[in-house]
Symmetry: C2
Subunit: 189 residues, 2 copies
DNA sequence: ACCTGAACACCGTTCAAGT
DNA sequence: ACCTGAACACCGTTCAAGT
């Protein structure tokens, strides 16, 4: 069963790479099979249909992202009592300028595109974002009041900014400092 | 040339209807041609490639949307000096609950999916959002200070909320009133 | 200028057949 | 349990040929 797992993992790995290189339009079962050195029908044995492959790919990708975000958090926060505000500014910059690896951004957009027509994949995406929001709420609650409000504002904004942000009248720096002022002033509202 | 225009318009019309009925995955040049009662090759004569057809479809769709938003604005605002705050709450509700026709929401998501791999279509989308943001900035500037900030916050948030909003800890009503308080308190920041 | 039909190289899925 | 090859019905694009 080690072989089974190895081959299944290799298929996911090549799917992510192909998604990065050619996008959702270029993602083809034959290409994935070819890169893995196996037959199209053999790939179909491990993932019976394109939907099954996409869902498994999204699952793997989401896990990787969550690990990376956790690492960033521990790197930013220290014993300094002022580090929570440093971290907030850092978090805003990361979310809004999408300076997280460009690779992840690309794959995420492709997954969104695929999820529109693949309701099982869309459901997996919803589950991920719910988990992501819950984790970020816990993290923010240790540092700021109204963590649920902050998360409910920031996560959708970050996703929307990736789509239409460059068409907005204010530039990135202005928006980051605007959000910083909004969030630190939140308890007054 | 009236015939040329009629046929070109009919093709766009059927493309939008097919996009609504079957989504981007079901959008096929053969199907569009069939619904128009013409040949695949004849459709290719009017729109030389799928990209050309999609861009023309997006152009037409954006114009229709802009007209609808203008109509909503004039309907909400009147001589009552308090109507600007009524309008703000109404605008937030429309943007965040996506109560704009569900049909438009579907088509927009399909166009986003298609734009990811079609850079010419993506460019048309950017142009539309820039025009949309400029128009909304003018509109808000008559009623509130910091119109550019409001627009730079609201438009990306609305787009992102359509994607991930249902996975957030706060529900729609809480988010709408949160945004209302944030925007009316903006001048203080 | 407008329209056609045939051919091209792809695609995801199915399935009987092998080990 | 794992893997194969052939066939299926699609897809967008091209192009020589008609009016």
């Amino acid at each position: 069963m080690a072989k089974r797992d190895d081959r299944a993992r290799k298929i996911i790995e090549e799917t992510v790479l192909l998604l990065k290189e050619e996008g959702s339009e270029g993602l083809t079962l034959r290409k994935v099979a070819g890169r893995c050195g196996i037959t199209l029908s053999n790939l179909q044995y491990y993932y019976p249909g394109k939907t099954a492959l996409l869902q498994a790919t999204a699952d793997h990708f989401f896990l990787t992202c969550e690990e990376q975000i956790r690492a960033e958090r521990t790197a930013a926060l220290n014993d300094d009592p002022a580090s929570s505000h440093v971290f907030l500014k850092r978090l805003l910059t990361v979310l809004i300028t999408c300076e997280q690896d460009e690779f992840y951004n690309t794959v995420f957009r492709e997954l969104w595109a695929l999820a529109i027509r693949d309701s099982a994949l869309a459901s997996a995406m919803r589950t991920y974002y719910r988990r992501y929001a819950a984790w970020m709420t816990d993290m923010m609650a240790e540092l700021f009041p109204k963590a649920e409000a902050i998360v409910s504002l920031l996560i959708p904004y970050a996703e929307g900014y990736a789509l239409v942000g460059e068409s907005m009248p204010l530039d990135r720096e202005e928006i980051v400092s605007l959000w910083y002022r909004l969030i630190t002033a939140l308890p007054d509202g």
